[in-house]
Symmetry: C2
DNA sequence: TTGTAGGCGTTATCAT
DNA sequence: ATGATAACGCCTACAA
């Protein structure tokens, strides 16, 4: 790879001048600019961004930490962030935390060591305190899909409580009263909020919260299967089920169908997230829309605004969920 | 952030010694090692990997280029690569090409400029010649899910032709003869191979290939919908449909159901890829398994072996597809 | 075993 | 407008 030195030699100018035409800020005469440009083209010169980064303490790249690289949720999120950033000429460096504290911290430190200009984090295992400490360091951090009070203007999150509320309310309004709830892992704040919303809806309609109708799932298909099996065992009067995400809803649908339930007549199911294939399921899944792609965009905008001083960006920190009515919920 | 210089000062040793304890290769006395380690801990020292990379011309990270960050296919692929690499202490830098030549090249140059030790590419728009040229440069490249004859030992790919063949053969053996085929975009090599396999199966069973029963889709749900609509218009005797990927199969299933077909009695559908939610569909989708996660693992192993000299890794360049029988294909 | 010093490819601060 | 030259933080011969 050609270096700036060879370019300067071929163009007959100094290193500094070459650097100047690359970073089209300072003034260079049109004539020398052309000379340099020609030399660059001729040598097929590409700046070494590592060296740029070391010298300028700027990398034009933003670190992203997600729990997993697969799955519709993270896919949408990463896409949202990347498309916005790429349009602004910035790059992303993605790494994973696997929902484990040690790996999350490890990932963050990797990103930091790569001189990222900012970090966009979707972390689940790390504590609020850790994030607050981290935010005091020089690299700005932004938090996706999690609300930390002390860092609220750096968080882009969904009103999960409202989502949980809407899900259960939707079922109640269709006449259901024996409603099961399959939640996510309780160590995740999202899970707790969604459950809380469920409880609020029950309360509002004077329905009791029954431990026997609650199951702590894993946000995966298996959790939906195990959950429904358990809930049915606990209460065979069950007519409706709210799941804290669509994967679990899909698992529950599968279990229900395999055990002779007609959907939605025999059992109404509502999901959460509105992941891409919710509409591919049969019956198509009624669910709570989680605008994660838009939230990714917004996190990117927030970074662009506060790190690169891009102007005219309106920031919205909290997104509201909406009900997507499809065919998996029936009236009783 | 503390630098190596501060560590050396605090520990009372030279820069070189600190560097040595970091890169635990050369010998350092246990005593000084401990001194240095203590100084590091005390300062919360983290090496700046940018500087390391510039100085050593090694980044311990591997660049990955995928078409999109979302979607089950790429998710599985990235996960496969990342998990293998992470276990070996290497990191990934992911970027996207969006199936456009310019963006793919742009992405590759970004990765190159970040001093990646190797590149794992899933490129669709760039030419074989470009890849061959690229492979001559100093950064090794490995190619996912695409077969380039001159670079065959650097390719990890699926036998797509066989997959296409198996899909159609499966339908024929269930008694179908009026078989539609919704392919992927023809500029993609995968699409062409799958179509070719379809034609081979037809030929083997003495069935003619009929232009009216072929539709060039887009590998998305919409392609399945548009495709089935067109094929039905062209031939109302259609009893079976092979789709070049599961997304299109899912679109076709949706269209079919909305137009009064019973599945699979009225229409048999087979997909391709066996993406995660193929088994969530109703009826569960019979499809061709594409072991993309394993292929990701293998690409990572290939990189580890040839770039970092990791031993005892068996490399398999071509993977064979298998038929996954579920419930979307019926007998006629 | 440990230290010295030059170099990695840029940027940025001075001069000129 | 352009050119020297010192950083940036680390690695790695070469010396000691």
């Amino acid at each position: 790879m050609a270096t700036i030195y060879e370019v300067s030699k071929l163009a007959g100018v100094s290193l500094a001048t070459v650097s100047r035409v690359m970073n089209k800020n300072t003034r260079v005469s049109e004539k020398t600019r052309k000379k340099v440009q020609d030399a660059m083209d001729q040598l097929g010169y590409r700046p070494n961004s590592i060296a740029q980064s070391l010298a300028s303490n700027r990398s034009n790249s933003i670190g992203i930490l997600v729990s997993e690289l697969h799955g519709p949720f993270f896919g949408q999120m990463m896409s949202g962030i990347e498309s916005e950033l790429r349009a602004a000429g910035k790059h992303v460096i993605i790494t994973t935390g696997h929902s484990e504290q040690e790996k999350e911290i490890d990932g963050i430190e990797f990103l930091l060591s790569r001189n990222c200009d900012a970090l966009i984090l979707h972390v689940e295992a790390v504590s609020d305190e850790y994030l607050i400490e981290l935010s005091k360091k020089s690299t700005p951090i932004f938090i996706m899909s999690r609300y930390v009070e002390n860092l609220k203007d750096r968080c882009i999150s969904l009103n999960n409580e409202m989502g949980g509320y809407l899900a259960t309310k939707t079922l109640i309004e269709k006449g259901h009263s024996a409603i099961g709830f399959i939640g996510g892992p309780e160590f995740k704040a999202d899970s707790r909020s969604r459950l809380q919303g469920h409880r609020r809806a029950l309360k509002e309609f004077n329905l009791p919260f029954d431990d026997k109708l609650y199951f702590e799932g894993d946000f995966k298909e298996t959790g939906g299967i195990a959950g429904l099996r358990t809930l049915i065992k606990n209460n065979d009067q069950l007519t409706a089920l709210a799941c804290a995400n669509d994967e679990m809803a899909s698992g529950a649908m599968k279990y229900a169908r395999e055990h002779g339930y007609n959907l939605p007549e025999g059992l109404s199911i509502i999901g959460f997230d509105n992941i891409i294939y919710a509409s591919y399921l049969y019956p198509t899944l009624t669910t709570i829309h989680n605008p994660i792609y838009e939230m990714g965009h917004m996190a990117a905008k927030l970074a662009l605004k506060s790190v690169y001083n891009v102007k005219n960006l309106k920031i919205q920190n909290i997104f509201e969920p909406t009900v997507i009515e499809r065919n998996s919920v029936g009236s009783v």
